[in-house]
Every structure is written in C-alpha cells, then in structure tokens.
C-alpha cells in the first residue's frame, strides 16, 4: 500500500511535468505567463479553490467505484452513461417531487441515482456472467446509447423553455447541498466523498466481501475453487462501480449545477477511470489523484482566456497519465520498484 502511495505521487509529478512542457509548447513567446496562469490561476480566488475541491469530490466518488470494478477484474466502460443517468434521475426527482422534505429528499435522490447507476452497470455484469458477453463492450455500447437518450430527455421533455441554455429549470433550493463557504461550489459533498473513499478502502482491504472481490479479480478459477460465487462477484463489482458513478452524477446536480444541462457530466466517466488507475486502484489514494485531475482541469480553465489553450489539453494530459500508469504498473510487476 505504501508503494501505491509512492506510485501515485510519482505519476502526479510526472503528469505536472508533462503539463508544463505542453504549456510551454503552446506559447513559446511567453511561456512564463502561460505557466503562471495555469499553476497560480486556480488559487486566485476562494471561488476557484472551492471549485477544485468540489470537482475533486466528484472524481473521488467515481474513482472509488472504478477501483472496485478493476479489483474485481472487470472493465466498466459505461461510466459516461451511468454518471449522466444518476444526474438525470436527480433532476427528475427534484423537479417532480417538490413536496419531499429537504434532508430526507436529498437522501432519497442520492439513493435513487445510485440505484439507477448500479442497475445500468449490473446489466453488463449479468450479461458477462450468464452469456459470456465481454463487459467492456456491452457497458460501452449501453452507455453510448443511453447518453443520447438522456440528452433527449434534457433537450425535450425536461427542458426549461425560458432558458437560453439547453437546460432544465433549476431544482428547488432545499435540495441544494449546503455551501461551506459563501458563494462557491464548495459543498458538504466533499465530506461525503471522503467518507466514501475511506469506507471503500476499508471494505476492499479489511472485509470478507472485499477480499472475495479481490481474490476473484486476481484469479477467477482459484476463487471459484475456493467456493466464491463468480456470479455474485461479477454482478456486485459492476453494481458498486455503477452505483458510485450514479451518485457522482447526483452530487454534480445537487452540489454544483442545480439543474440538468445537455452533456454537463460529460467526461466524468473517463476521468473516474484515470483517477482510479493513477491511484493504483486503491480508493484512499483517489483523494490524491482526484485533486490532481481537478487541479489540471481548473488550471486549463484559468489559462484559457487570451490563449489557444482548450479543454483538448486536458484530454492529452489525461491520456498521457493512463499511458504512464500502464508503464508504471508493468515496471512494478517486473520488480523494478
């Protein structure tokens, strides 16, 4: 476990170093101002610091779920659809059940989003177990279709006709997660997310259920020989990862956006995978990798004004992180670290 902490830090440092090189390449005339707006910009205001923490909370939640699937030897590539599904579920419930009392309502909304997310992912688990359909393909295809269906829900039936955005009306204020500092995106969701990573870590490494999933992931036939049900592990690992993806979507609605906007959770599914892998598939280290990704995203936003930087830079950095991770993982296997 100490090794994964060190690996996470090595990957973080390497990612920031690559980011610096890319930034300098983007603006050869004035690299200093580019670097300073990227690395210092996010700390300019308490609002943007709050945004980093709020974004990191989402990424930790998603990353912890992905880690569970990976430990079970499963690839859940349906994160985009599962996050979006959780978000749309949260919007629908808050708009159509306005009589729900505040705190209880929030709990119901979060639970419903988790159930929807895990149901979507469980389909791939069930297909994998009973019909040997590769979960990597089925989860991606299902999510690919669902994303467009959720887009449709936001563009047509749920859309607020008075809004300039393709967006739903704002949800009632009593469902908004409470702000920690005034006028910022920083809400109580960070405590929930930290709780989830801690619980995830404990569950995975110190509980019998977690042990079963890890054993099944490391060697399915050995696990089955030891009396561990392949069906249960496959479906459970997929459901947990989908459930936490769904929760991520609901937290994005209740904590940050307070409405549904077309494509507003796009990228969170893939980011969850990057976060989990950069954390060495340990829930607790997703805290570190989630802050790294959230910082990179807000650095890009801070340096976008007056430069040629776009969100594409983020894709390049995250892709590079994933490639680094595989090399790092393999170097570990060969006994180099």
């Amino acid at each position: 476990m100490k090794r994964s902490a060190r690996n996470t830090i090595i990957i973080a440092v390497a990612a920031l170093f690559i980011t610096m090189i890319l930034l300098v390449l983007f603006d050869l005339q004035d690299p200093i101002s580019m670097l300073s707006s990227f690395f210092l910009g996010p700390f300019n205001s308490s609002y943007s610091i709050g945004s980093i923490i709020a974004k990191a909370a989402l990424l930790m939640t998603a990353g912890t779920g992905v880690a569970v699937a990976f430990r079970g030897g499963l690839f859940n590539l349906g994160g985009e659809g599962q996050v979006y599904g959780g978000a749309v579920a949260a919007v629908v419930l808050s708009l159509y059940m306005p009589r729900l009392p505040g705190i209880l309502g929030i709990l119901i909304i979060l639970t419903a989003a988790m159930i929807l997310g895990s149901a979507i992912a469980a389909v791939s688990g069930i297909l994998k177990h009973y019909f040997s359909i590769h979960e990597l393909i089925s989860s991606f295809l299902l999510s690919g279709g669902l994303v467009y269906i959720f887009d449709f829900l936001i563009t047509a039936p749920l859309r607020d006709p008075n809004s300039f955005l393709i967006a739903t009306p704002l949800i009632p204020q009593k469902f908004w997660l409470s702000e920690i500092t005034a006028s910022s995106a920083l809400t109580s969701s960070i405590f929930l997310a930290l709780g989830i990573t801690a619980a995830g870590q404990f569950w995975m490494f110190h509980s019998i259920a977690g042990y079963k999933i890890r054993l099944f992931g490391a060697n399915p036939s050995c696990a089955e020989y030891g009396g561990i049900s392949a069906k249960k592990q496959t479906i459970l690992a997929m459901s947990i990862s989908g459930g936490l993806y769904g929760l991520t979507g609901a937290l994005a609605v209740l904590g940050i956006h307070h409405q549904g906007i077309q494509g507003f959770t796009s990228g969170l599914g893939w980011d969850g995978i990057t976060v989990a892998l950069a954390a060495g598939i340990s829930p607790i280290y997703t805290v570190l990798s989630a802050f790294l990704i959230a910082f990179i995203d807000s650095g890009i936003e801070a340096s976008m004004a007056g430069s040629s930087i776009t969100y594409d830079l983020g894709l390049i950095i995250k892709g590079t992180i994933l490639v680094l991770v595989t090399l790092k993982l393999s170097a570990g296997k060969r006994g180099l670290t």
Binding site: L141, G144, G145, Y148, F152, D312, L315, V323, S330
Partner: protein, 279 residues
C-alpha cells in the same frame, strides 16, 4: 439504398477486420476509435494538400500503422496493460487531433477546402471504398490461407506454447496490432473521402461498433461481415426515420448503439440456449 448501406458498412468492416487480427493475437486493440479519428484527420490533410484521394487513403493507413506500433511496442515489451493503454490513446489522440487542427488550420471545427480531391465514384460508391473491399479480402485471405494467420491465432490461443514452437509471440502480436492500426487508419480515410470534409468526432463510435462486430461475428470474417451489415442497416434506418420524424435528432443517434447492443445480447442468449440443449 444498397450504396447508402455500403457507405456505412465498409468503414466499420475495415476497422473490424483489422481489430480481428489484434483480438485473435490476444491483444484486442480498443484504441480503434482513436486510430479511425487519426486516420480521418491525416486523410483530410493529405487529400487537400496533394489533391489526390489515393494519397489520403495511403497517409491515413500509414498514420494508423505507425501510431499503433508506437503505442503497442512499449506495452508489449514491458508487459503493460493493453486495455488501459488503449483507453489512454482514446483520450490522447482526439485531444491531439483537435490541437493540431487549430494549430494548422486555425479551427478545431469542420475542415473543408476547395483543393480537396473528391474521389471518383463507380455506381454511386467512391472508388476508395472498392479499394477497401480489396484490402478486406486480402486481410481475410492472409488470416485463413497463410502461415501468418496461423501464427496469429496460435499466439492468441497460447503464447507460451507458440514460443516453444519457435514463434516470437511479441513480434507476431506487434504485426497483428500494426494491421489493426493500418485498417483503423484506412477506415478513417473512407469517412473523410465520402464526406469530402473533416468533421470533429467523425469517428462517432465506429471503432467501438467495430469491436462489437468482432464479438457479434464470433471472431470469423463471415460473421463480421454480417455484423457490420446489421450495424449499417440500423444506421441507414435511423437516418431515414430522422428525416421523416419530428423527434429530436439525439434520439436517433442512440439507434446504432442500441441495435448493436441488442444484437449482442440476442446472440448471447441464443448461444446459451443452444449450449443448454446440447448438454
């Protein structure tokens, strides 16, 4: 109608045949989506700067091949996880293409130019599509009638035994991966040559559909042709419906994914039933 369906079908089929090589060698290339996009972009550059559509196909194939080898070599050498690396490529390449597009052309949006070489057509199908059919036939032949195909399948079946039998599993996997890159790049060029422009996200999930087609076709070329045809019919049907219906277009974009997913499920159920009967 047949040409319209073929226009949807051939790029997916090309990518799927290449992907089949990687899958049979035991290293499924999930970066096909990104390689199609890279191929499409380079095909646009080549076809608009040389005024030759053939150069577009050639440049796209070469780009796909080089990227696949650059990506696979270190992963095979150091036994990295090819899936995770593939996910990385699927993020990295679209980002890179978009940045290059705005650096070269000043926009990361739609690219079209008067210098673009429109490929000649025969029976309504652009000539490069016929070239792709020949390419598919060659891949099919190599896989089933030559030692290379046998090596690829044997390495995928059991790499250790293949090594003992004197093959070099790493080199064969690299070759299989290079073929998948070549095919992905060519598939991308077909999209651009048909549209006579480059549009962001032009690959639109075709790399993933191609991967699904490999499984749907049960890893044999004949099945893959049928799977690609199902996808193409779904895409064609959804385009027709989109013209008639007043529903928002986003709903129709879901159709190819949903149909491919349902076909995969249906096939899984049928095979399962058959297996139960035979027991």
């Amino acid at each position: 109608m047949i040409t319209a369906v073929l226009i949807y079908m051939i790029p997916v089929l090309t990518a799927a045949m290449g992907g089949l090589y990687s899958d049979l060698a035991g290293v499924l290339n999930i970066a096909l989506e990104a390689l199609i996009l890279a191929g499409a972009f380079t095909a646009y550059i080549a076809a608009s700067s040389t005024a030759s559509s053939l150069m577009g196909v050639f440049a796209a194939g070469l780009t796909g091949l080089v990227l696949a080898v650059l990506f696979a070599y270190p992963l095979l050498k150091f036994k990295g996880n090819i899936f995770v690396g593939g996910l990385g490529m699927n993020l990295l390449i679209p980002g890179l293409v978009s940045v290059l597009s705005s650096q070269i052309y000043g926009t990361s949006g739609v690219l079209h130019s008067a210098d673009f070489a429109s490929p000649p057509s025969l029976f309504g199908l652009p000539l490069p599509y016929y070239a792709a059919l020949i390419f598919i036939a060659i891949l099919w032949y190599l896989l089933h009638k030559t030692p290379l195909g046998l090596w690829i399948r044997s390495v995928g079946y059991n790499a250790d035994v293949s090594a003992i039998r004197g093959m070099n599993p790493m080199r064969i996997r690299l070759i299989a991966f290079a073929v998948s890159g070549l095919a992905g790049g060519i598939a991308g060029s077909l999209l651009v040559l048909n549209l006579e422009a480059y549009v962001p996200h032009i690959s639109a999930g075709r790399g993933w559909i191609a991967l699904a087609a490999i499984y749907l076709g049960r890893k044999n070329p004949r099945g893959i042709v049928a799977a690609a045809a199902i996808f193409a019919l779904a895409e064609y049907g959804s385009n027709i419906l989109q013209g008639i219906s007043e529903l928002p277009s986003s709903l129709f974009l879901a159709v190819p994914y949903v149909i491919t997913f349902l076909a995969l499920v249906l096939q899984g159920v049928i095979i399962h039933r058959k297996a139960l009967k035979n027991e």
